[in-house]
C-alpha cells in the first residue's frame, strides 16, 4: 500500500485472504483515507465472497464499487470513494484543550460526556449540566489537589490499629461514642453535598468532578471509621439532636455550587479542622487519636479546594462576596430557632478534655472547649479574609456561623 501522506487519486490495497467479515474493513478504510472523495482504491484479495461483501459494504458507506473486468490482473474490484466519511466530520470541533489550561469558558451542552480536547462530531444529544461556565466551579488548584488526594488515600481497615488494647472508664467511652455519633452525621452531610454538586458540573471540567468524587469517597471512609470507633467497645451509638440535624439539612438545601462549597468546605469543614485537632490532642485512646489525625488531613484538602475555588471566583465575580454574606445570614436566620450543637456533644467534648470528673479537671475541660470555639472562630475569620472580606465583616460573619460547627 502507498504510504505517502499526500492524497493520491488511486491506491491499491491487497486484502490477502481476509474477508470483510473478519476485518478487511480496516484495511479498506485505511486505503480510502488516502484518496480524496472521488479517488479510487483498487482492491485485490482472494476471499471468495469479497466482491459481494464489498458491494454491500460500499453501498452502506456511500462508496461506489465496480467489479473488475476480465484481464484486470489480480484486481477484484475498484472502489470510488464517496463524500460521506468526510461529511460526517465537516462540522466537528475540539471540545477545548486536554490540559487544565484548555478548559473552555463555557462547556457546550452537545459536548456531553466527550473527553476534553476530543474532536466532537457535530450534532447528537444535548446534555444539560447546571454548572457549564468555567468560573462557576473552577479553581486552578484542582489538578494539584486531585493529585494530592489520590496519593493520600488510606484504607480504613489497615490504616488504624483497631485491635490495639485499651480500656476507658465507662463515661469516657460514652463521651467518645457521643462525639463519634455526631461526627458520623456531619460526615454524611459532607458526603452528600459534594456528591450532589458533582452531578451538576459539566464533565468538561473533569478535574472538578475528580476532586468532588474523591472528596465524597473521603467522607465515605470517615463515616466508616467514626462508626467503627463508636461501636468498638459496646456496639451502641449515641444521640442525634434535632438542632444538629437541622443545621446539616440546611446545607443540603443550597442549590448554588459556590455557596454550597462555601458553607460546607470553607465554614463547616474549616471549623472541623479545629475540632479534629482538639480530638487528636484530647483523645483518651490511640484509635480515636489516629482516626482524628487521618480525617483531619483529608478535611484540610477539602477546605483548600473550597477556599481555592472561592478565591478564583471572587476574582472574576465581584458580586460573589455579597451573595456569600447573604447565604450566611439566611442560614443563621433559618437556624435561629434551633438549639444548635447537641448538648450531649458539648458535654462529651468537655469531659474528653477534662479526663476526669474532678471539678478542677472539668474546669480545664470547659476552658479547652472555649478555646476550641475561639480557634474555630479565628480560622473562619482568617479564611473569610482570604476571600476578601474586611476584618470587621469577617468577624461578624464568623459569629453568624451555625453553632453546630458544621
Amino acid at each position: 500500500m502507498t504510504t505517502d501522506d499526500t492524497p493520491l487519486d488511486t491506491v491499491t490495497v491487497d486484502l490477502g485472504d481476509l474477508g470483510l467479515e473478519r476485518g478487511a474493513r480496516l484495511l479498506l478504510r485505511r486505503a480510502l483515507d488516502q484518496v480524496p472523495a472521488g479517488g479510487e482504491v483498487t482492491v485485490t484479495g482472494s476471499d471468495p465472497a469479497l466482491v459481494i461483501h464489498l458491494t454491500a459494504w460500499c453501498r452502506r458507506e456511500g462508496h461506489t464499487v465496480s467489479p473488475a473486468q476480465p484481464g484486470d490482473g489480480g484486481v477484484r474490484a475498484r472502489v470510488r470513494r464517496g463524500g460521506t466519511a468526510s461529511a460526517r466530520w465537516a462540522g466537528a470541533e475540539r471540545a477545548g484543550g486536554p490540559e487544565p489550561g484548555g478548559a473552555a469558558e463555557r462547556a457546550e451542552p452537545h459536548w456531553g460526556l466527550a473527553a476534553r480536547g476530543a474532536l466532537v462530531e457535530a450534532g447528537g444529544p444535548e446534555v444539560f449540566f447546571p454548572v457549564a461556565d468555567r468560573d462557576t466551579a473552577w479553581t486552578d488548584l484542582a489538578p494539584r489537589l486531585y493529585r494530592q488526594a489520590t496519593a493520600a488515600q488510606w484504607d480504613p481497615w489497615t490504616a488504624v490499629a483497631w485491635d490495639t488494647s485499651f480500656t476507658l472508664p465507662d463515661e469516657v467511652e460514652a463521651a467518645v461514642v457521643q462525639v463519634m455519633t455526631y461526627l458520623v452525621e456531619n460526615e454524611q452531610a459532607a458526603l452528600v453535598v459534594p456528591a450532589r454538586l458533582l452531578v451538576q458540573v459539566h464533565p468538561h471540567f473533569r478535574e472538578i468532578l475528580q476532586l468532588l468524587a474523591v472528596q465524597a469517597a473521603d467522607e465515605a471512609r470517615h463515616v466508616e471509621v467514626f462508626t467503627r470507633r463508636a461501636l468498638l467497645k459496646n456496639g451502641v451509638m449515641g444521640t442525634s439532636s434535632v438542632g444538629g440535624r437541622a443545621s446539616l439539612t440546611s446545607l443540603l438545601a443550597e442549590p448554588d455550587f459556590s455557596i454550597a462549597a462555601f458553607l460546607l468546605s470553607v465554614l463547616g469543614e474549616g471549623s472541623f479542622l479545629s475540632l479534629l485537632t482538639f480530638l487528636e490532642r484530647h483523645a483518651p485512646d490511640p484509635v480515636t487519636r489516629r482516626i482524628s489525625h487521618l480525617v483531619r488531613q483529608d478535611e484540610a484538602r477539602h477546605v483548600a479546594f473550597g477556599v481555592g475555588h472561592l478565591e478564583y471566583r471572587a476574582r472574576v465575580d465581584p458580586r460573589l462576596r455579597g451573595r456569600l454574606r447573604s447565604a450566611v445570614e439566611r442560614r443563621h436566620d433559618a437556624l435561629a430557632g434551633t438549639a444548635g450543637l447537641n448538648q450531649d456533644v458539648f458535654d462529651a467534648l468537655v469531659l474528653l478534655a477534662a479526663g476526669s470528673w474532678a471539678p478542677e479537671a472539668i474546669a480545664r475541660g470547659w476552658q479547652a472547649v472555649q478555646r476550641l470555639q475561639a480557634d474555630m472562630d479565628e480560622g473562619r475569620r482568617h479564611r473569610l479574609s482570604r476571600l476578601g472580606f474586611p476584618d470587621d465583616e469577617a468577624a461578624e460573619l464568623s459569629q453568624l456561623h451555625t453553632r453546630n460547627f458544621m
Binding site: 474477508g19 467479515e21 461483501h53 458491494t55 459494504w57 452502506r60 458507506e61 460526517r88 465537516a90 462530531e121
Partner: protein, 284 residues
C-alpha cells in the same frame, strides 16, 4: 388540517425516531408534514391508493401492489424518492462450504431455507432466480419458510437469520438472503467465517421507494421530494436519522429495478392482476 401525511410501517421502534426526526426537520423547512404508522404493508397500500393519506414509505412489494390497485382504481401514483442504498441490491443463495451442493442443479430434491413468505430479498427474488435457473420451488426442491414479521415484507431481519441458522444446522441445503445480510451474519457469527459458499446471485434490483398517492398534488409532491433530496449527510441535525434509516442521501425514485420482483409476484401468484392478495398461507 392541511399538509402532507405519510404512511410508514412500524417494523421496528426506530421507525418512530426516524419519522419524528424527519417530521421536525421538514416542519423546520416550512413543510406541513405528519405521519401515520401501519402494522403491515397491505393496509398501508390499500389506504394510500384509497387516498386516506398522501405518500407512503413503501417496500418494493408494496409498490408493485400499489401499481396494480391504482391501475384498477384509476388513481395516480408515482415514485418520488428512494435511498441511495435501495439501488442495485442483490440476493444470494449460499450453501455450506463443506456440503455436497456444488451447482444450482444439485439443489434438486433438497431443501432451501428462505425468509418470510412476503420477503422480496430472502424469498421471492431468490426463488424467482432459481426458477430462471430451471428449478421450481415446491416442485424441484422443498422450501423451508421462516415466517417472522409476516406483513412487513422482509423488513424484519429475523426470517433471514433463521434461514441462515437452518442452513448451518443442516436442516436445509441452501439459504437465501440479501447480500448485506450475508456479510452481517458472517460478522455476527450466525454464519461461521468461510463456512458458506456463494451458489448463485440474483441480478441487481431496487428496494424501498417513497411513493405519492392520488391525494398528493404535484406541487406538494415536488416540494417533499426536493426537500428530501436536499438532505445532506453533512447536516448534524439529520445525519443520525440518515444513519438510522440506512442511507447517505436520497435519490430520485425509479421504477427500473422492480422487474425481477414483478416476475416473482407473477409466477407465484402473490397478488393477482387487480392487486388482490392471492398468496397461499399469507396472512399479515
Amino acid at each position: 388540517m392541511n399538509g402532507i401525511v405519510l404512511g410508514a410501517v412500524a417494523y421496528d421502534p426506530k421507525v418512530v425516531t426516524i419519522w419524528s426526526g424527519f417530521r421536525s426537520w421538514l416542519l423546520g423547512q416550512g413543510l406541513e408534514f405528519d405521519f401515520v404508522l401501519y402494522s403491515h404493508y397491505e393496509r398501508q397500500v390499500e389506504d394510500l391508493v384509497g387516498g386516506r393519506f398522501d405518500a407512503a414509505w413503501h417496500s418494493p412489494l408494496a409498490w408493485l401492489r400499489t401499481r396494480r390497485l391504482a391501475a384498477v382504481a384509476g388513481a395516480g401514483v408515482r415514485p418520488l424518492v428512494m435511498r441511495d442504498t435501495d439501488r442495485d441490491l442483490t440476493s444470494v443463495v449460499v450453501v455450506r462450504t463443506d456440503g455436497p451442493v456444488r451447482t444450482v442443479a444439485d439443489l434438486k430434491g433438497r431443501t432451501v431455507a428462505v425468509g418470510a413468505a412476503d420477503s422480496p430479498q430472502a424469498t421471492l427474488l431468490p426463488l424467482q432466480h432459481l426458477r430462471e435457473q430451471g428449478l421450481v420451488a415446491g416442485v424441484d426442491f422443498d422450501v423451508r419458510r421462516h415466517d417472522i414479521g409476516v406483513g412487513l415484507h422482509g423488513d424484519h431481519v429475523g426470517g433471514e437469520r433463521e434461514a441462515a441458522r437452518a442452513l448451518m444446522a443442516g436442516e436445509a441445503a441452501a439459504a437465501c438472503m440479501i447480500d448485506a445480510n450475508h456479510l452481517l451474519f458472517a460478522q455476527e457469527g450466525t454464519l461461521p467465517a468461510g463456512g458458506t459458499r456463494l451458489l448463485t446471485r440474483t441480478a441487481a434490483y431496487d428496494h424501498c421507494v417513497l411513493a405519492a398517492g392520488p391525494s398528493l398534488d404535484e406541487t406538494s409532491a415536488d416540494r417533499l421530494s426536493q426537500l428530501l433530496l436536499s438532505m445532506s449527510y453533512a447536516d448534524p441535525d439529520v445525519r443520525h436519522l440518515l444513519d438510522l434509516e440506512g442511507l447517505t442521501r436520497w435519490m430520485p425514485g425509479r421504477e427500473s429495478g422492480f422487474a425481477q420482483l414483478a416476475a416473482a409476484v407473477e409466477s407465484t401468484g402473490f397478488y393477482d392482476a387487480e392487486g388482490r392478495v392471492t398468496a397461499t398461507g399469507y396472512r399479515p
